[in-house]
């Protein structure tokens, strides 16, 4: 046995047991390594990182990471008939579940035909990977695929304990119970208040079968820097602005302009807050999912809503609720799956900040995308956003049984326009 999954990893494993919960990172390269070189590099990296050799089994006391059998990371070859062929491949990867009990929990796809541009898709079970480690692995893969990369000796990393082991002292021992009790009371009070105020106006889960569909857009360098300046002037994080733009758009288009509290998921990188901090090179799911409920009036001003979200997230973070959310996430996921009638949220947004990938490497990265699967009880509209090459890259996921592609594109266009207008004002 390697180790037991902690509460948050268990929540991810539970979610994956009813529908795929995959992370798909897409590296768009002007010129890529040959697929066999890529496969060799991935297999060398598998020896370096313990969780790339893992599988997840159901033990007596919960889920357990065990050594994978067989080893080896497969790289599927796909032809590149169109420049956007990768979109079809990414959707297929998002919707194809890993055999978690067998492992390994990673696979790759090479979309290309040799010398020219290509896309490399890396798919992970979310239980072994967060955004920070996925980006780190992408960097390691490009270096290991370079000419001479095979000759480099890669340091083998030790197995890492779960995030909970590194939680601060205030979330260890007897103090953990006291803090969780206060947190649970606050959550129950919020739940009762929301249910009363909403009274059936939230959207029910869509019918099965449902499949995740994706789309992307980018803001220009000028729009990105304008928006950054504006957010700083308003003293709010970029995450809060993006979250506000998404919530406003979803409220206007999908809730008929009603004024009501909407739930939204926010993701926090726990790595720097752990004791000791965990480096990005240690692959794993060292993040937390926080859920907020914010009153959204469709005519509300973007910056006003962003400031409110900023306050909510800041207050919760300062109270240490990212740890409380993490510790109670398996219980929350069990409840959601048991009830089967409540969506987790209307929106989910992950802003991962600056993605540092060397554009001057032998394999210049010209595009970078990331998507995470969702399911019928998950959010209606999900976005992964990052800053890469001076631009903001938005990657969106929706479910085909509740939204037509035209509607999903309309929402994306509205978000982009909302942000562009503010950037121009700055």
């Amino acid at each position: 046995m390697m180790r037991r999954l902690d509460a948050f990893e268990s929540a991810l494993a539970l979610s994956d047991s009813v529908a795929p919960l995959n992370v798909v990172a897409v590296l768009r390269l002007a010129k890529g390594p040959p697929p066999d070189v890529l496969e060799q590099a991935l297999n060398r990296l598998q020896h370096r990182h313990p969780l790339l050799r893992a599988r997840i089994t159901q033990g007596v006391d919960g889920h357990v990471f065990e050594p994978s059998d067989p080893l080896g990371i497969a790289v599927r070859r796909a032809s590149r008939d169109r420049s956007d062929q990768w979109v079809d491949e990414a959707e297929a990867e998002l919707n194809q579940r890993f055999d978690a009990a067998a492992g390994p929990l990673m696979r790759g796809v090479y979309v290309g035909s040799g010398d020219g541009p290509c896309e490399v898709l890396l798919t992970f079970h979310h239980g072994i990977m967060d955004a920070a480690s996925a980006m780190h692995l992408c960097r390691e893969l490009l270096v290991a695929s370079e000419e001479g990369g095979a000759a480099q000796v890669l340091e083998l990393l030790p197995e890492q304990p779960a995030a909970e082991t590194f939680f601060p002292a205030s979330y260890q021992g007897w103090r953990r119970g006291a803090r969780l009790a206060v947190f649970a009371l606050r959550q129950v009070r919020g739940e009762i208040r929301d249910r009363w105020r909403v009274r059936g106006r939230w959207h029910p889960p869509p019918p099965e079968p449902c499949r995740g569909r994706i789309l992307s857009f980018q803001l220009s360098e000028a729009e990105t820097s304008g928006l950054t300046r504006c957010a700083r002037r308003h003293r709010v994080t970029l995450h809060s602005v993006f979250d506000a733009a998404m919530l406003l758009t979803v409220a206007r288009h999908r809730y008929g302009g009603q004024s009501l509290p909407l739930r939204h998921l926010v993701f926090a990188n726990l790595r720097p807050y752990l004791d000791p901090p965990v480096s990005d090179e240690n692959l794993g799911a060292y993040f937390a999912m926080l859920r907020f409920s914010t009153a959204v009036h469709p005519q509300r001003e973007l910056w006003e809503l962003a400031a409110e979200i900023n306050r909510e997230v800041y207050t919760a973070s300062k109270r240490g609720e990212k740890f409380a959310f993490s510790l109670t996430s398996a219980m929350m996921m069990r409840n959601i799956l048991r009830l089967g009638s409540q969506r987790m949220a209307a929106t989910a947004l992950s802003y991962t900040g600056v993605a540092k990938l060397d554009r001057d490497s032998p394999f210049p990265v010209v595009g970078l995308h990331a998507f995470v699967s969702s399911f019928r009880l998950g959010p209606e509209y999900t976005a992964q956003v990052r800053l890469f090459a001076g631009r903001l890259w938005w990657d969106i996921l929706y479910l085909d049984s509740e939204m037509e592609p035209a509607e999903a594109e309309q929402l994306a266009d509205e978000i982009r326009k909302l942000l562009s207008v503010e950037a121009a004002v700055s």
Binding site: R235, V236, L238, P272, Y273, N310, V313, G390
Partner: protein
């Protein structure tokens, strides 16, 4: 905004005071790490960067922020 101190006259003690006020921590060391040691949240970092930009008339790009890890990093970036 009035500028009491230009960025050339800036001392690390002033940055320590700024960080101390933003985070509500009495004692802030020169080498302290903003997030992992002082517990700064993303919103704290935004406020600190914005305050430094306003006060010392510098512009800090978004992609420079991950490199500003410690109080000293913030001081050095403020000095340009």
């Amino acid at each position: 905004m009035t500028q009491d101190v230009t960025k050339d006259e800036l001392t690390i003690a002033e940055i320590q005071t700024l960080v101390s006020l933003q985070l509500g921590i009495a004692s802030v060391g020169e080498e302290d790490l903003l997030v992992s040691e002082l517990g700064a949240e993303s919103a704290d970092v935004v406020n600190l960067i914005a305050a430094v930009e306003d006060k010392y008339d510098v512009v800090i790009a978004e992609d420079e922020i991950p490199e500003i890890r410690s109080v000293r990093d913030l001081f050095e970036r403020a000095r340009g």
